[in-house]
Amino acid sequence: MDNRLIASSSPHIRSDETVSRIMLDVIIALLPATLASVYFFKLNAFMLIALSVASAVATEAIFQKARKKPITINDLSAVVTGLLVAFNIPASAPWWIPVIGSAFAIAIVKQFFGGLGHNFMNPALAARAMLLASWPTIMTDWVKPGVDAVTTSTPLAILKGQAEGTLPSLTDMLLGNVGGSLGETSAILLIIGGIYLLYRGVINWRIPFTYIGTVAVIMLAFGGGVENTAYHLLAGGLMLGAFFMATDYSSSPVTRKGQIIFGIGAGLLTAIIRLKGGYPEGVSYSILLMNIVAPLIDKYTSPKVFGEVKQNA
């Protein structure tokens, strides 16, 4: 009998939380917004989302197989990336856009840097930036929700005066009945998903609240009043970015203080890009920029150890 005893170091019990459960929670949280985008943008949305997820999972499997590493698609992290890439694509995009985007996100941004937990940027946002730089017309060809795919402008572009048109009502903005990327249109459903993640303890309040709060404060002060601020909060990818992108574990700080700095930083950059920059939308670039400084933020925000005393030099 003795030979069969396991004598390992403590602790001897583990919580039942797993990586795949966390990823499943993110997928559950994204589900309402996913369904809404299919509702608003019909079959093309469904096709783009399906292709994006399939491409992400396939790329992960092929890459790991080629490198003779264990295939980890069961952890569902590639599904999450695929969903988020699709969320960043306009409904009118051709089928190969999400395929290339997700393949880039998984192969270049995630696996080249060591796979799960090692990507220094949010893969989906990096893919969006790549697609936007490579196919700018396709990536900004916004359509009105509905079957006829009438070309329209995003509320932010109208707000900025870069495009003609009338602003949609705030109710439509909240529900998502506006032009924009697939997943970023319905603020309310994204918020519901975010609340679910907070409730499940997958994310904490620090990054999303400081991020959205910073944007709100700056827009109130410099963005032209309460109504404009409301548009800024509900439009574009702010909710998607704040709850689902900026909170990406591997590309954001792990310290409490660091997360607050990260959220405020992303909020500042978003507001500056939207108010002063050349793009109407600033969420993706502000998060990507903050991703790059996240390790530095972590380094300088190490928590004070319990009972830490100043050493006499």
């Binding site: 009998m1 003795d2 069969r4 005893l5 396991i6 004598a7 390992s8 170091s9 403590s10 602790p11 001897h12 019990i13 583990r14 919580s15 939380e17 797993t18 990586v19 459960r21 966390i22 980890t72 952890d75 992290s77 060591g114 796979g115 799960l116 937990g117 090692h118 904490n204 574990y249 591997s250 792990v254 310290t255 409490r256 190490s302 928590p303 004070k304 150890v305 319990f306 009972g307 830490e308 005393v309």
Partner: protein, 443 residues
């Protein structure tokens, strides 16, 4: 009872698993036929055997003499014949000098075992001497000789004694049962401790998942206005002494310091019980309460066990194994020591014998760190386990000091919460060992 519950920052909420044994009254274990008594059951220097093969010994007779200050003598728990004085396996290590005694079943008490008188009449020094001679060591797990704690250097002013009845380790119920069944002895032990260090403030800290123990202790301490029972939030590691001090008094023991640095001495409730016995009856520490529990034990129990009784005898008295054992642990599941065999003896620090089945014992396959930060949020010492572990796994032990590796209290909370099942504490322990070894070499 409606006490406000106190606590500390951080920590985790593992399942309690106490229902297996919390209702089981303390039973006297069967008389062991043979006891194996290690000469080292505590932190500090080992004892030297003072009996030889063929000697006849009695219950309470000293058989191992402590030569160093940080050490505690060892006594026989049975009467009978010394069979062997040899190096054997013990729960805390292999190759420890042990005295094997065959019991004659008569339990003849040694003539030195007699009541030491009233604590009111004993002086501080006399109490400390009684504690020392009775071989009393901390019974929460680490096993630090108690008389050393009671002899702080003169520049440390002690004003508070805290008894630790938190029992935050899942599964264990020995302290719980002790407080329910012998609360007056615990209070007596606390009064002796308070007298020994000359303080008039005593606390008994108990987690609020044991309301019956809290009521029992409050009742037992009713007449002592200087003893206060405090309810603690049931959260792991509430029973860590620095967390306990923080919860009870709000004081923060400095990093690298000892409780005495903030004027506090902490002892386990089991230790207080042993001190009461040492004064009232004069019996040294020769038996203790052990929780025998876990999914692979047929009838979980709380047993009063003689020191030196082999684990397998105890397990047999609890109906043996329900299914094939995967892991036998001395202590609780968070900080306990996994054993290679069930032939090791119960020692002074054996708070529990926990047997997990093969499924629970399986070491989970680690996945990559996803940097979720959970280990950072729950660390009761505010460390960043993910970074320390990362450096340790790469062999960069020196760099782990930048992340205060030596402040780790090894509570295991980080490994517990990790969704990737990474060996966080396991690798941090390696780094600690390497850093300390290097420091010793340098000195």
């Amino acid at each position: 009872m409606n006490l406000k519950s106190f606590t500390f920052k951080g920590g985790i909420h593992p399942p309690h698993y106490k229902r297996y044994s919390e209702k089981a009254e303390i039973e006297k274990a069967e008389e062991p036929k043979v006891v194996i008594i290690p000469m080292q059951q505590h932190i500090g220097a080992p004892c030297e055997p003072i009996v030889k093969v063929g000697d006849k010994v009695k219950v309470g007779q000293k058989i191992g003499e402590a030569k160093a200050f940080v050490s505690a003598p060892v006594h026989s728990s049975v009467s009978g014949l010394v069979k062997k004085v040899s190096s054997m396996d013990t729960p805390t290590g292999s190759g420890v000098m042990c005295i094997t005694i065959e019991s004659d079943g008569l339990n003849e008490i040694h003539e030195n075992v007699k009541p030491k008188g009233d604590i009111e009449k004993l002086t501080k020094e006399e109490i400390i001497e009684i504690v020392k001679e009775a071989g009393i060591t901390g019974q929460g797990g680490a096993g630090f000789p108690t008389h050393v704690k009671l002899s702080p250097p003169p520049d440390k002013r002690i004003d508070t004694v805290i008894l630790n009845g938190a029992e935050c380790e899942p599964f264990l119920t020995a302290d719980h049962r002790l407080m329910l069944e012998h609360p007056e002895k615990v209070v007596y032990g606390l009064r002796a401790l308070m007298k020994a260090v000359g303080v008039n403030k005593g606390y008994i800290g108990i987690e609020n998942n044991k309301p019956d123990a809290i009521s029992a202790m409050v009742k037992a301490a009713e007449k002592d206005s200087d003893i206060e029972v405090i309810s603690l939030v049931a959260k792991y590691p509430q029973g860590d002494e620095k967390r306990l001090i923080n919860a009870a008094t709000g004081r923060v023991v400095p990093s690298g310091g000892l409780p005495m640095d903030v004027g506090v001495i902490v002892n386990n409730v089991g230790t207080a019980y042993s001190i009461a016995n040492a004064i009232q009856i004069g019996m040294p520490l020769v038996e203790r309460i052990v929780t025998v529990t876990g999914s692979a034990i047929n009838t979980p129990k709380n047993l009063m066990v003689k020191i030196g009784t082999p684990f397998k005898d105890i397990i047999a008295q609890c109906g043996g194994f329900k299914e094939a054992p995967g892991k036998i642990i001395m202590g609780g599941p968070m900080m306990g020591l996994a054993q290679f065999t069930d032939e090791v003896p119960v020692i002074k620090g054996t708070s529990g014998i926990l047997v997990l089945n093969e499924k629970e014992a399986k070491i989970p396959e680690p996945n990559p760190c996803i940097r979720c930060g959970k280990c950072v949020y729950i660390c009761p010492v505010n460390l960043q386990p993910l970074f320390i572990s990362q450096l340790s796994l790469k062999g960069q032990y020196d760099d782990t000091q930048r992340y205060h590796v030596l402040d780790c209290i090894e509570c295991g909370s980080c490994s517990f919460v990790c969704p990737s099942k990474r060996p966080l504490l396991q690798s941090i322990k390696v780094a600690k060992k390497e850093v300390l070894a290097k420091r010793r070499k340098a000195n």
